[in-house]
């Protein structure tokens, strides 16, 4: 059964579009057939020639080689973004990597059919921060880590991992029912480079993260002071038991995930080490064989060569593991951290809502007092009170909006992660199976010679 969803009517829960480039064939979701979950899955390989993939190939082929929207029949709205061609710019301390961001779309908002801009990491950061600012309650897709050890910053592997992560990032935004509508996304995808740079630096000056941190600190101090003044020692927190459970879940989840990611990273290294040791062993065997007679020597030589071949296979698998298993796990960790950020937002919103409610109540009491006394200040107080009440209602609305959004986002998050991990597991198991069989085959090739001796 084919159900074509269009962008405008995308909802939440089942059936909302993710990769809007696809025709979505929608099935009843059941436990086994989690295929539809894939719709939400950001990690798709370029084998489909759609370039938003967490699964990378060895050399990243430029996205523009792909045929026009393989799965979208003409007429259906779609947007497809690729982050490609990392290039080192500048020199010395100021050097950085720039990326080519290609947006393919048939929608007017995205100035289709194709728009290409050059962006750097700070631009992605800008977008992330803007979205985080404006869309409280939504789990903003996470960015790859900001800084890296200096010497590692320009290693091919690091650049590739970052490029992949940025690609996933931007496509997640483009497939989010709410985020995809944001002005800032359009700015990011479409603006000229010079304007982008100006926007970025202006924003950095006025409302940088640092500034917002300072504001936050003030707010915290403010609320703490008023708490003390009002006789409340403890910070105001929600008492919703379900939310408590969720908070605990998120925090513990992060720990578990960090552990798995650590082991996955270690496993990558182990593959590399095994590969190296096999290469060395193979060479040594060849030399040893040279000391022995003709026939045995040949067998040693054969063995040694196989060792060297296998070493290469192991290095390749190590890279595959890194990109298609370890990175998704890392991404999972980042996503959980993004949720924590949203939780912080929620806590803030809750605090504000509580404080303003308190303040309003006090003002009401004050007003009543003044009115009883027929004081001239009553009018002022009334205006003051009305203002306060409006603010308070707004704060309450904001808070409730966040709560509602978070619940929707949670469902979406869980589904997305199941799909993401499912794919990562499949790739992992496939890679390991292939590697093991390759190794067995290679060694098996040596046997006939040995048995003949």
């Amino acid at each position: 059964m084919m159900m074509i969803t269009n962008l405008q009517a995308s909802g939440k829960g089942e059936g909302y579009t993710s990769k809007s480039a696809f025709l979505i064939s929608f099935r009843k979701r059941n436990l086994r057939s989690s295929k539809s979950l894939l719709r939400n899955c950001a990690f798709l390989p370029p084998a489909i020639t759609v370039k938003f993939a967490m699964i990378s190939t060895e050399s990243d082929p430029p996205a523009e080689t792909s045929s026009p929207g393989p799965r979208s029949p003409s007429g259906q709205p779609f947007v497809m973004i690729s982050v490609t061609e990392p290039v080192k710019m500048g020199t010395g301390v100021q050097s950085y990597i720039s990326y080519r961001v290609i947006t393919k779309s048939n929608m007017t908002e995205f100035e289709g059919p194709e728009k290409i801009v050059i962006r750097r990491y700070s631009d992605f950061e800008w977008l992330h921060d803007k979205l985080a600012e404006k869309y409280k309650g939504i789990f903003i897709p996470p960015l790859p880590e900001k800084s890296a050890v200096e010497k590692f910053r320009f290693s091919a592997e690091f650049i590739e991992m970052r490029r992949q992560a940025l690609d996933v990032f931007i496509n997640r935004i483009a497939s989010h029912p709410v985020l995809r509508k944001s002005e800032d996304l359009r700015t990011f995808l479409l603006e000229e480079e010079e304007r982008m740079e100006r926007i970025r630096s202006i924003e950095a000056g006025i409302f940088s993260k640092k500034s917002s941190d300072i504001f936050q600190m003030f707010k915290d101090v403010q609320s703490k002071v008023s708490d003390v003044v009002l006789g409340k020692e403890k910070p105001v927190e929600e008492s919703d038991p379900e939310y408590e459970k969720l908070k605990n879940y998120i925090f513990e989840l992060e720990n578990h995930l960090a552990e798995t990611q650590k082991q996955a990273f270690r496993l990558v290294k182990r593959h590399r080490d095994l590969g190296q040791s096999l290469a060395d062993f193979g060479k040594a065997m060849k030399l040893l064989g040279a000391c022995e007679g003709e026939s045995l020597g040949k067998a040693f030589s054969d063995l040694g060569s196989k060792g060297e071949i296998l070493s290469l296979k192991l290095q390749k698998e190590a890279h595959n593991l890194l990109m298609n298993f370890e990175e998704p796990l890392k991404d999972y960790v980042r996503a959980v951290q993004s949720i924590k950020a949203t939780m912080a937002d929620r806590a803030n919103a809750f605090r504000q809502h509580c404080e303003l409610a308190e303040t309003t109540k006090l003002k009401e009491i004050n007003l009543d007092k003044l009115m009883l006394m027929h004081s001239e200040r009553a009018r002022e107080a009334e205006i003051d009170f009305k203002e306060s009440k409006a603010d308070s209602e707004e704060a309450t609305k904001r808070f409730e909006a966040i709560v509602k959004t978070m619940n929707e986002e949670l469902a979406r998050f869980q589904e997305q992660k199941t799909a993401d991990l499912g794919l990562a597991f499949h790739e992992f198991a496939k890679g390991q199976a292939k590697l093991a069989h390759d190794i067995a085959d290679a060694w098996r090739g040596v046997l006939p010679k040995l048995e003949a001796l």
Binding site: F22, S25, S34, K35, L37, L38, C41, P45, A47, K245, E252, L253, H256, L257, E259, T260, Q263, R266, R270, L274, S277, L278, D280, F281, A284, L287, L288, A290, C291, E292, G293, L296, A299, F300, L303, L410, A411, Q414, E415, K417, T418, L421, G422, L423, F425, H426, A429, K430, Q432, A433, A436, H437, I439, A440, W443, R444, V446, L447, L450, E451
Partner: protein, 524 residues
């Protein structure tokens, strides 16, 4: 726990025994038909001390997986090479066990008060070909004595090197680990001795294994008296009055006993090198020199191979370990998600994760088993590297024997020239010179004795040369066989285990196929 004699050896078990259970007895029968390390039917060594495998590694356990795994291969893999030495070994079984600490009852050290606090004795049981069973206790010092006596009486042969003495006194010597390692090493040592075609039949070994009570072999620990002996004899040697029997002569000059001889041979070495006078007997055996070069090259390659083998083993161990830890981490996560699940998607994810986790743990176990096998097989490299030490000794036996011959020959030539001079001088005096002629007579006697000694020395030298030659041939054959079975064993276990690992992951991959992109495409 299986006894040492039943411990697993090569895993080139024949496919015929594949279907059997992993009971020890069945396994043993499987092994006895399998290829054995030539010359070493008794060399079923437990974990070699060089590899730092955790004690829990299933080294001794019947490798159940591998039994099943090796089915596809030619059942008669590897020639069952019964090397000649295994059939000539005098002893069917030797074990070293039961280390017991005993206290020193009589202090034998020269310096009062420094007697060792206590020493360990080991129970040695053996069964000879003729059926003689024996159980006796020996201490490490006895092994040293045995080694020394064997070295003396088997010059030119590749005598297996004995385990090291522990240098540090006190606690290190007594730690349980150290004692256990030593016990293992001593057992291996005795078995190697028994496996040697000549040494296995020697009296020294027989006496060591069978004589009750104190070891009836002369010890060499009495350094002080040797020094004294040597000092006492020196004046007599200088005056020429000391006549040593030819048999003594052929023994290399050692320790304090033969100060004079040491000086002379040292002088000879210097003469050989500096004066450049062609010694009469020269190491002209071109073939031998080639062989020697080859041995050096071989030793170098064995060293490198041995090192890289250790690195490989470590890498295999590491990957198995990390795989296991990854599996555990996933299991914990699975449990967590299952318990805390509020969404169906979570439960789904947890279930999938469990499959991966289980597979990872299985794979980890397979890696560990593979590694145990790899360790066994690649141990051959270490074995043969160790044999190189014996080769060095044998070669230096040869050169010192040659040096003795050369020394005696130059002795002779100088004696002869002295006689000539004396006779010439004496003939100038009318009626002869009584004193000189008497001197000549004495010298001629010395010459006769020295001639005898020289003959003995030459015979000894030839004997050692023969020993060298036959040992080199034997070693080449043995090494060829050992390396071949090492390669086979290594390759077979690699193939077997990786196939197993591959199928574990394949199953999971198939189950996860649902998530793969191919499904995505095919749906369109």
């Amino acid at each position: 726990m299986m006894g040492p004699e039943e411990e697993s050896m090569e895993t080139l078990t024949l496919a015929t025994s594949v279907a059997t259970t992993t009971a020890a007895s069945d396994y043993h029968s499987a092994i006895s038909a399998s290829q054995e390390i030539p010359g070493d039917p008794l060399l079923s060594a437990p974990v070699p001390p060089t590899f730092a495998l955790s004690p829990s590694s299933s080294f001794v356990d019947p490798p159940s997986y591998s039994d099943v795994v090796f089915t596809p291969f030619n059942p008669s893999n590897g020639a069952v090479s019964s090397s000649p030495s295994s059939s000539t070994s005098n002893y069917l079984r030797i074990t070293v066990s039961d280390p017991v600490q005993e206290s020193e009852t009589v202090s034998t050290s020269l310096v009062p008060g420094s007697g060792s606090g206590g020493y360990f004795t080991y129970l040695i049981t053996s069964r000879a070909k003729d059926g003689t069973d024996s159980r006796i206790r020996r201490r490490f010092r006895d092994f040293v004595t045995l080694a020394d006596r064997l070295a003396e009486s088997h010059r030119g042969l590749f005598v297996p090197v004995r385990p090291d003495k522990g240098v540090v006194e006190g606690r290190v010597m007594k730690s349980a680990d150290f004692i256990e390692q030593r016990r293992i090493a001593l057992e291996r040592y005795l078995r190697r001795l028994a496996a040697h075609p000549v040494i296995g039949k020697s009296d020294e070994l027989r006496v060591f294994l069978q004589a009750e009570g104190r070891l009836p072999l002369p010890t060499t620990t009495d350094v002080a008296s040797r020094m004294l002996d040597g000092a006492v004899r020196l004046p007599r040697q200088l005056s020429g009055a000391d006549v040593t029997g030819p048999e003594e002569v052929v023994q290399p000059a050692k320790g304090g006993r033969d100060l004079l001889r040491i000086f002379k041979e040292l002088k000879q070495t210097v003469t050989n090198e500096w004066v450049g006078s062609r010694p009469a007997v020269v190491e002209e055996d071109r073939e031998f020199l080639d062989r020697k070069d080859k041995m050096q090259d071989l030793e170098l390659q064995l060293t490198t191979s041995s090192e890289h083998a250790e690195t490989l083993v470590k890498a295999q161990q590491d990957i198995g370990e990390t795989m296991g830890e990854l599996g555990l981490a996933f299991i914990k996560l699975t449990k967590f998600e299952t318990e805390e699940a509020t969404f169906e998607s979570q439960r789904t994810r947890a279930a999938e994760m469990k499959k991966v986790a289980t597979a990872a743990v299985k794979a980890s176990r397979l890696y560990r088993e593979l590694n145990a096998q790899t360790v066994k097989h690649l141990d051959t490299l270490h074995e043969h590297l160790g044999i190189m030490l014996s080769v060095h000794t044998a070669f230096s036996d040869r050169s010192s024997a040659l040096l003795t011959v050369q020394t005696l020959m130059s002795d002779l030539s100088s004696l002869n020239s002295r006689v000539e001079k004396l006779e010439a001088a004496s003939s100038k005096i009318f009626g002869g010179d009584r004193a000189r002629l008497r001197r000549v007579e004495e010298l001629k006697e010395t010459i006769r004795v020295t001639e005898n000694a020289k003959c003995c020395a030459v015979k000894e030298y030839e004997r050692i040369k023969d020993n060298n030659r036959s040992e080199l041939e034997r070693l080449d054959r043995q090494r060829h066989d050992d390396l071949l079975s090492m390669l086979k064993g290594f390759v077979i276990s690699q193939v077997g285990y990786y196939e197993k690992i591959g199928s574990v992951w394949e199953t999971v991959a198939d189950e996860m196929h649902v998530y793969s992109r191919e499904v995505e495409i095919s749906e369109q």
